[in-house]
Symmetry: C2
Amino acid sequence: MKIRYEDGVELAAQLLQKSGLDESKAASVARALGLAEAWGLPSHGFLRLPIYLDRLDAGGYAADARLTTTTDLGALLVMDGGTGLGHWQLSEAVDLAVPRAEQFGLTAIAIGNSGHCGALGVYAADAAERGMVSLVFSCGPAALPPWGGTGKLLSTSPIAAGFPAAPKPIIIDLALSTVSRGKIAEYAARHEPLPEGWATDSAGTPTTDAQAALEGLLAPLGGAKGFALAFLVEALTAGLVGPQLSKNMPDIFDRDSLSEPQRISHLLVMIDPSRTDVSGDVDAPGQRLSELVAATAVGGGRAPGSRRFTPSEVHPGTLLEIDSGLLKRLEERA
Amino acid sequence: MKIRYEDGVELAAQLLQKSGLDESKAASVARALGLAEAWGLPSHGFLRLPIYLDRLDAGGYAADARLTTTTDLGALLVMDGGTGLGHWQLSEAVDLAVPRAEQFGLTAIAIGNSGHCGALGVYAADAAERGMVSLVFSCGPAALPPWGGTGKLLSTSPIAAGFPAAPKPIIIDLALSTVSRGKIAEYAARHEPLPEGWATDSAGTPTTDAQAALEGLLAPLGGAKGFALAFLVEALTAGLVGPQLSKNMPDIFDRDSLSEPQRISHLLVMIDPSRTDVSGDVDAPGQRLSELVAATAVGGGRAPGSRRFTPSEVHPGTLLEIDSGLLKRLEERA
C-alpha cells in the first residue's frame, strides 16, 4: 500500500523516540529510512525498523549513545559511536566534515563502535547537495566468503560516493555482493524465492531459499576482483577503525543476539571539488563532472544516481510503497 | 626468455634516458616497469616501453616535465604533471605524502596533466612498505561504454590500495574492466585470439580479435555496478583533477597521436593507520589487518597481494620472463 513520505518518517521517528532516541536523533534516523524508501530501496527502509527497535530495547544499540572524539588531527577525525545506531552518526559526520573539507581540501571522519547506518547513498547525497564530493564506506555482519574459500569473512561491503554535478548530483551507492543482504531480507519477509545465483546456504550450496540465504553466504560482484574490492572496504573500516572485524559482528537479523552491540565502523572521506583542479580553477571540476554526465546520456546510458530524488527534492507528500503487513506491525507498535 | 631484474631495469632506464629523462626519473620509471614484470603483470611492464619512448621522442610525453604545485592546503596537494610520464610523478607523490599523512592523519595528492603511470599497485606497495595505507586512482584513454549505451566513455578505471599487514602488505590492484587494456595489448602483440567475453569491436560486436578489441570496447566488471565504480574512478581523477575527461584522451596505442599529450590525472590518498583506531591504539589497526589476512587463509582463500613480492623483496637477480622479440627490439634501440 501507499504511505505519504511525511507520515512514514513521522511514524518511524515516533517509534525510535519510544525506544529511547532523543527527538533529533530519531528524526535523523527516520529521514534516512524515508529517503531509502523514496529511492526505491525498501531493503534499507522501514523494513529495518522492527529490528532496530528490538535491538534498541534489548541494548544492542545504545539509545543514549553519543559520538565522542578519539583523535582529531584536523583533516582526520576519529570518533567512537558508543554502540549507537549509525544513521544519525553519519549525518553528524557530514555536518562535521563540510567545514573541515573547506579548510583542508579533504577530510576523513572515521566512526568506530557504531551500528547499522542504512543506505550509504543518503550521506553521499547530503554531501553533494552541500557542494562536496564524498566517499562513504561501511561494514557489517560477514556475508561473503574468502574468494576460493569458505566461511563468512567480509560484509557485503557497501560503498557510496557523491559528486555535485548538473543537472543532478552523481550518486554511486552499491554493495560489493551480487545483491545486498537487505534485498535478501526483503524476499525472506515476503516469503518469496530468490533468483538463482544470488546466494548459497551456510554450507556453500547455491540456494533460492531466502531464509537459508540470510543464514548463508552471498557471492561477490564479478568474482575475484569483487572480492578484492570488498576486502578493501573491510580493511578501510573494520580494519583501520574497528574495534572488530566483520566476521565477529553479530548478525542484525539474529534474534538471539539482540542485546549484543554490533560495533560496526564507517569511514567518510570528503573532498572540496573547488580546490582539486589541476589549474586551480574553482569551477572546472564541476563543469567536467557535468560534462561527464552529459556524455553518458549522449552514449545512451545514464549517470549513476540520475533517477534518484535528491534529498531536497523529496516532498512531504511523496508517496512511498510499503508492505501492508509491515505497516500494520509498526502502527500497532506505536 | 629470461632476463635478470637488474638487467631489465638497467636497459629500460638507459632507453628512457636516451629519450631525454634525467637519470633519477628514468630509474624511477624503469623500476615501476620492472616491478610489474616481477609481479607477473607484463601488460604493465617492458611491453609499454617502445610506445613510451616513441611518445617521449614525439613530444607526447614531455621528457623534461616537472611536477609543479597548483594548490597546497596541507592535507590536499594539487600538482601539474606538465604532460610527463606518470610513474616518477606518482613515486614522487608517495614521497611527498608520507610526512603529510603523519602530520594530518590523511592526505591526498592530486596530479593532473600527466601521463600513463603503469601498474598502480607499485605505489600502493611502496606506501605500505613505509607503513602507510593508500588508495590510488587513475584514468586513461576511454575503453568502456556507458552501461546500456555505446561509445567510449570511461577508462578501464584502475584502482589500487595498500595496507601494511603481517606477514605481507595487503595489495589490491585492479582495473574495473573485465580485463585491462594492457592484457589485450599483450594478446595483440603475440597475435593470439582473446578469450570470449572480454571485449567488443568498435561497433560493439563481441570479438576475440585482440587488435579489433584494442580499437573497440571492454566490458565493465560485474555489469551495472562495475560501470558505477568505473564512473567513480573517472569522477575522482579526470573529473575532479583534469584537465580533461578520459573520452578526450589520445589512445596510447594510437601511432597517429604520438605527439599529443594524454593529460591523464591521478589521485593518491594516504592514511596513517596508527591514527585511525576507534580507541586511539596505535597498533590495533595493523593487528586487525593482520587478523583479517590470517582469517582469509583459514577459510581457504588468500588476501589480495599475498603472492606478490613487496618492492623490497625483489632482488637484482630475480628472473623476469620477457618476450624475446620485445627484448631484441629494446636492445637494438639501446
